[in-house]
Symmetry: C2
Subunit: 233 residues, 2 copies
DNA sequence: CTTCAAAGGACAATGCCGTTGTCGTAGGCT
DNA sequence: AGCCTACGACAACGGCATTGTCCTTTGAAG
């Protein structure tokens, strides 16, 4: 076979599938996003995507080389969505907080794609725009260049790392997801004070706190520490 | 079949496989780590693991309920290795710094496994020991329980999230790894000041800083912020 | 209009995968 | 010495991504 993919721009024919769908990169990517959103993590397989589109699974290989290729196309869409509509306010802490939470939220909306996207440097337009914006906020806040770069690095890596981390939790099969949670609710709640005094003393608090993401608070700590450094200059 | 797993502690018989291996949780987990390390994360399948052990794939189900269970055991092994030989010093900041860097280092030693394991709550022995130790450091430092738990959450998730993030970079094929770096060295270095003034102004610093992990500095910021909160109590 | 190359959807097959029902053997207790 | 059953082995099932091949349909050229 060697190669059956034709770039979207060079497509001339549009032939409907047996069930009447007219395929295109756009339609496939959007359906994939819907599939992930509606039926959770494991739902994205070539077979199921084909079924959702009303097309034979193998037909998708006319549009993407393989599943990774497809997921990258989906991921590309996400990078843009994280920034969509953001505007600088002039308050650097508020701005960074907003950017951090936006990145986190955008990726949580599509956990499957997030896991792939979060640790790749694309060097493409949307990424460059984000780097530029964050560096701008820091430099305008008064951080010297070297310090701005260090904080940028910690800030962005932390946002992406947590995004991937929390996405991974969401992308788990429901059973495993429930099991992970149950560990805090049941397992740790029962450890005896004799062997695990600190866990026993805080079990209730742990079970409550570990339900959610650690990111918002971690972000707050990072912003606090950065502010302290700005003052100390 | 319903249930064929017997807890390691209650095992009495040790029957060698056809090829002579004597199975045990330990042997299986260690072989899994080797397999992942040598042939990549994709190499970990029940079938291949069975082959590497000289046992029928189905035999592993006498030791683990399913692959996820096995993966959790591998994850717990990594957590155990991170703590091996650690001792509290009484200086809470130094202690947390040491634990954080140890976790990070232990996972970097097995990048492929780290990617699979870093997102999971194992509920197993080594994890409980780590939770207990970290909570102990924070409570002894004087943080009230609720605050200790919040900081524990941020601290541990940050360590694991960065561990997974940096592991993913290490686990990339060398070519892709080089390409990622090149983005900072070449791509961003060439963006014109007209469109990306902040990147242009810091390109050299960026290229240098983005080579390494953002974790050590992010950890420092977290510890600084926590210390400030302790003082403010 | 008619023609006709080839785009692209469908089918079938390949070789993975995790998992489970079942069987027989041998380990170790009494 | 004899029994029970733990546990390794075998075989089979259904689902996965991917690919070789066929054949219908498209749409441009004449």
């Amino acid at each position: 076979m060697s190669e059956r993919v034709i770039p979207e721009s060079q497509r001339r024919r549009r032939r409907p599938t047996k069930q009447g769908t007219v395929l295109s990169e756009q339609v496939i990517v959007e359906t994939a996003l819907q599939l992930i959103g509606r039926h959770g993590a494991g739902a994205l397989s070539v077979r199921r995507l084909g079924a959702a589109l009303g097309a034979d699974p193998s037909s998708l290989y006319r549009y993407f080389h393989n599943t990774d290729d497809l997921l990258l196309a989906v991921a590309d869409e996400l990078i843009g969505r994280a920034q969509y509509g953001w505007q600088a306010t002039g308050d650097w802490q508020a701005d960074l907080r907003a950017i951090g939470l936006r990145i986190h939220a955008a990726y949580q909306a599509h956990p499957q794609a997030a896991m792939l996207a979060a640790h790749r440097t694309t060097g493409r337009e949307n990424e460059a725009r984000a780097v530029e914006a964050i560096l701008g906020v820091l430099r305008r806040a008064g951080f010297p260049d070297a310090e701005a770069v260090r904080i940028y690095h910690a800030f962005v890596d932390q946002a992406l790392a947590f995004a991937a981390q929390d996405a991974a939790a969401l992308a788990l099969p429901p059973a495993a997801q429930a099991a992970d949670l149950a560990v805090w609710q049941a397992n740790y709640a029962r450890l005896p004070a004799a062997t695990h005094p600190n866990i026993a003393a805080t079990a209730r608090l742990l079970a409550a706190d570990m339900r959610g993401s650690g990111y918002p608070f971690a972000l707050e700590l990072l912003l606090d520490a950065a502010a302290a450094r700005l003052v100390a200059l």
